[in-house]
Amino acid sequence: MKIKIKFFARFTEIFGREAVFEYEAAGKNSLKDAVSTFCRGCPDKYGEVFTKDGEFQDYVLIMHNLTRIDRDDAGEVKVADGDEIAIYPPVAGG
């Protein structure tokens, strides 16, 4: 399935603005696994988003199809072909 991942703020300087990648779910099919799969493709940058234990860094915020997702739930959220995931650092608007 094709998944679009968008990065914002300082993450754009690490990963670029967005990427569409072919995600082979291999039975896992979760948002966390999809993002981890993408980031493993950029090995020297993986630690920007994930800890050594494979958990999201605690400063990472996530949207899935424009809905905020708690980091702790990302392993349970299923993704489908055409989905959009946004990964970004703490916000600073206003």
Binding site: K6, F8, A9, R10, L61, M63, L66, R68, A86, Y88, P89, P90, V91, A92, G93, G94
Partner: protein, 131 residues
Amino acid sequence: MAVRITKDDVDIAKLIEESKKESMGAIVVFDGIVRNDGIDKIELSAYIEGATKEIEDIVADAEKKFNLLSVEVIHRIGVLDVGDNILIIVIGAGHRKEAFGGCEYILEEIKTRAPIWKKEHLKDGSRWVEQ
């Protein structure tokens, strides 16, 4: 309700006039501007679709909690100078307490939830603002 994320500045006086309804007893305006913290300029960027939806959700919550009669939220992006408008919130309600309460709620929620970021440009480089 209107939520806009835009590079353009707005005419606040016109927004106030357009918000008025006979049932209103109060309009509260918040205008967040670029403060001079030793910066040259500030650059605002946003996940526009995500931020618009998040602010629309915040406004919908505020309308129910505070019985608001009108809400306009304009958040600017792009490169701004000291003194420029960043965030304009215009709230109309029957009474002042509802208008003040709704305005503060929307402002504080935007600051913690809307995917919008600031990058300060200094004379010798730049830095991301993280709250």
